[in-house]
Symmetry: C2
């Protein structure tokens, strides 16, 4: 096993490189298969060096999942210049595109990050909450009241959408516009249900 | 640490007792906190005895999650004597009741069983698939075609429902009829969306 870095990198560069290797690993593997041995071998560094940067395997996992999650969030940031309906459509198209182009990473985030570490789960849940919040903002612009039922509906619909994207885009490669059309129809359906909720 | 069983039990009884203690543990804790040490202490047996029955910690976890999942499935088995709409309503009411009465177990199954073990995830996914299949059968009785869009919609709606139950029943204790009314409306919404899907 190599015990020296392949090249001279600053601490920040080295840390970023290790995280990038981990994110790349998620493209083809679930997170729990990423051992420190594996990461060290792929990076060409010693295990001791990895523990120097991350303290623990949990620290490595959290950094990798945070970076993967942020890559999804940045790629699907809503375009504030668009009116709400068009903004939702555009955002969903970019989410579907990200899922198509990075299906391993998306699967790892949704499914594979069945990590035993509650902190890792919380990292992914933050992006779910943010996506639900983005929807709430768009629908409030459309005049929907900021009610509990709508909040619950959006948060649950984010989970609905993850499942649908896994099935339609990752597994079946159905084209993005067709998938987004379906998702928008289900979104309208749950918004209508929320409007009629008795809580 | 105690090294002898508290009482004479048959192997089947002992194994069932250990699983029952594990399922009880899930009421208040996520699965990943259940160490073999903890289970041995609660059961008053040696760690060696536990490994005699289950081979590995993974084996323990799989047996516990399977039993917890089956307790949910049995408690929410659809009543075949009811017509489809009433059957769905009755099943959802019993699911909501189970979640209210066993909120720790339900949370553990949906959230806490963020186990690193893909087999554990698969055990919970089987119940999701079964619930989606039950919905498909009810809606086929109502005349809905057995189409891909409907299958995808039901599987995704099961995830929607898990999130909504966590928020509405576990966290907010909203009454079962109100929650089920909301869920039925969202179900109709996604069924209508599936009917208009272009795939």
């Amino acid at each position: 096993m190599p015990s020296e870095p392949r090249s001279r990198l600053s601490p920040e560069e080295r840390r970023a490189q290790l995280i990038a290797i981990g994110v790349q690993f998620l493209v083809d593997h679930p997170l729990d298969e990423l051992t420190i041995d594996e990461l060290a071998a792929r990076a060409g560094v010693s295990k001791a060096l990895i523990f120097h940067y991350f303290d623990s395997r949990q620290g490595v996992e959290r950094a990798i999942v945070t970076t993967a999650r942020d890559s999804l969030l940045v790629a699907t940031e809503p375009r504030a210049d668009l009116p709400p309906r068009e903004r939702i459509h555009d955002t969903l198209l970019r989410i579907a595109g990200f899922v198509r182009d990075h299906s391993g990473t998306f699967s790892s985030l949704v499914r594979g990050v069945a990590s035993g570490d509650p902190a890792v789960r919380a990292i992914v849940d933050q992006s779910r909450d943010l996506n639900a919040q983005r929807l709430l903002e768009a629908f409030q612009e459309l005049g929907a009241p900021n009610e509990l039922a709508l909040r619950v509906a959006f948060r649950a619909w984010v989970s609905f959408t993850e499942e649908a994207l896994l099935e339609l885009v990752v597994d079946r490669r159905i084209d993005d516009e067709t998938v987004v059309d379906f998702l928008e129809k289900t979104l309208d359906g749950v918004v209508a249900a929320a409007a009629g909720a008795r809580f």
